[in-house]
Amino acid sequence: MAIACSVLLVAIAAESPARAQHFDAESFSLANGLQVVVLPNHRVPAVTQMVWYKAGAADDPRGKSGSAHFLEHLMFKGTAAHPPGDFGALISQGGGRSNAFTTEDYTVFHETVARDQLDLVMQLEADRMTGLVLNDAVVVPERAVVLEERRTRIDNDPSALLREQLTANLFLNASARVPAIGWEGEIRRLGTADALHFYRDWYMPNNAILIVAGDADAALVRRLAEKNFGPLAARALPARVRLDEPEHRAAIRLEMTSERVAQPSWRRLYLAPSHRAGATGQAYALEVLAEILGGGADSRLYRALVLDGGLALSARADYAANTIGLSSFAISATPKAGVAVGELEKAVEAQLNRLTEEGVDTGEVRRAEQRMQAAAIYAHDSLSGPADIVGAALAIGQTLDDVALWPDRIGAVTPAEIAAAARAVLILRNSATGILLPEHSS
């Protein structure tokens, strides 16, 4: 649903379209620190503008979870120049669309409009970067909207509830333990002052990345960016804190039953490094490992558990390397009717043991890397694909070179590196296992 607020992209998994080549990106910065990236694409006479703020749910103040996401909603509530409703009306009059989303590390606002509307959407984004006007009359109903969003995404869905609990239990201390949408009780207490506090801390040109993808050239984008964002002043920026994990001494195990559950499911998270935290040198190897282990119909877990073993209906692995703080390596499986969860778990563990003992073979590494590199080509096949990839990398502190070199770095990962990363990460005491059961079978 194209709602002008918030899709919580929590963890983009290994099978998502990968980062890709150079996208013919041109990049420059304004004097006030705003970073600008232009990604030319002349297929349609349109542009997608994205403003990425380098502040997300992991930057929520303690006890105020959901702040970043709540502010994302409230950014559509108007400024002195553009009263409530104006923003959406101005964009849709020309056939444009706007939306926004919040993750752990960033908050993103985007518009797709005709190329001659680029100046307009830049004016609007520059205006609300510092000019947001909030009061209880708009804030209070929007808090109710966020609570409905939480009920839809999480509270009405037992598997989402267990995933939330599992993540909170895996991370004993790291910021990622708190759900991006916020805990219900804390959302209920968020008010106008909290939103404005987060806004003043983080929303400024020197903490933002402007990406323009589509039918525009760098000279035009530079001129319009100078005109619209240039007058905004840089301000002092708080440090982004990502808490570390203490040593884990014991594996965590959660079991949840619900009458809303049709069939059991099993999921395990292992603490994992990211491109920015922990043993960052393992991140590329872990991306390939997730593809080999659980990235589709030709993956080890799918073949062993679903195709050959006949134990599972599904089996997969997911890993997101693009986070500032620590990440997790996830394995999930759903047993076939009549197969006990314990039996499934043993079969998964047998595959993991085989992996850490024997490593991976050259053929499966090559196939996985080829699939991932092809995904990087397909990422060009839309207006927003390249912008999403570039933004997600830059917003966590990677560079355009990192984006450009991703296919090569994936292709250079060796079987030995994958085996070493698997041995470093797939350690039981660094894991949290969650089992979801129908009410009657517990």
Binding site: G95, A114, A144, L147, T152, A337, R367, R371
Partner: protein, 455 residues
Amino acid sequence: MSRRPVTRMVMLIGAALVGLSALPAAAMPIGQVTGASGVAAWLVEDHSLPVVTLAFSFAGGAALDPAGKEGTASMAAALLDEGAGSYDSTAYQRRLGELAGELEFAAGEDELSGSLRMLSRNLTETADLLRVALKEPRFAEDAVERIRADTIAMLARQARNPRSLAGRLWMRDAFEDHPYGKDSDGTPASVAAITRADLADFVARHVHQKDLVVSAVGDITAAELSGLLDRVFGSLPPGDQSKDDGAEIAEARPGDAGALVVSRTPVPQSAVSFGEAGPKRDDPDWYAAYVVNDILGGGGFRGRLMKEIREKRGLAYGVSTALVPYRHAGLIFGSIATENSRVAESIALIRAEWQRMREDGPSEAELRDAKAYLAGSFPFTLDSTRRIAGVLVQMQTDKLGIDYLDRRASLIEGVTLDEARRVARRLFDPARLSFAVVGDPAGLESTRPPREAPH
């Protein structure tokens, strides 16, 4: 990997999107290509990326599933890429992965459709995998049993998912015994009854050249496409020229005369589906209905429902309505989710807005804004080979004409205020607007018991 059989609600939403975004106005030359075999396709060449998408649709879908074997079309669609020709399931998927092909099949009520996105350097080899999937699907026993188990598990999951349950309840009540009222994924019992012969029979009945619609978009020339059409589709049986797959299904006017049914279940938020009869795609009032629907239930923050329910009162994260055109019926259909204690308020507001639109129609400003948005937004969405290929197939299925993209904006802009008001009165009738609610709503009782799901 097996595609999950497409659910009724997914199909509804898919159909709604296609119906809603009833096509563009960008200057995009569309060619017509016919192979030596007689198979034809529409082509948009774009050599900016080494990528090609081939999309196709065969007439006849889930609505034709034999009684007691509901789910056959969906299950067949899920099995076409699970082993074909000389490949077993594993070998097929491995080969597809090596070639970096992205293949999808989906069974709708009225058609079996699919798409194949491929790298142009692997064009022939990847297309050969599609050819064998269509021509020589194996339906091997292990794959059939695996997909059967997967489907039954999915049905069990959906039966506990408030949103999909509300959609199913609504469809069942609106269409009763008509095929559109049956779940296109079947029931656990009907899925259990489907045999390999049923699946092979589905392919034999529908996968043929007659009523096949094809499009290609991307890094491919007309000459290359001509050869590719013969290669992929040229050896399919011609099909019976005298037969029109799906024409035998009865016309249906969905409607439940303003009923409200509640299925009680302990969740914090009630999921609600609502709607009534709407226009089919070839209805002369289609464009007026399309515009008026957007004014009432448009996505983003454009629609009246969104303003009244979300913006003013915070009652829901989203609420929208869409025209859903099937071959033999049309719907205007929407959904919303609100916490149990306030869902009655949401429903009252929807009814009131339905009544207000019926009585007064849109204002001149609303009409102007909606037309500008609907005419202007569509071309921007034609940014991927997959998206364009899908649109080209839909244009052919709906018989809109190859110049439709050039005419679309003026068709929308031509809707007058008088016409919009007349169509609003025709389209919106609170006395016929029915609701299905799944949750534990306060202050809402069924006007009659929900119809039992077949088992």
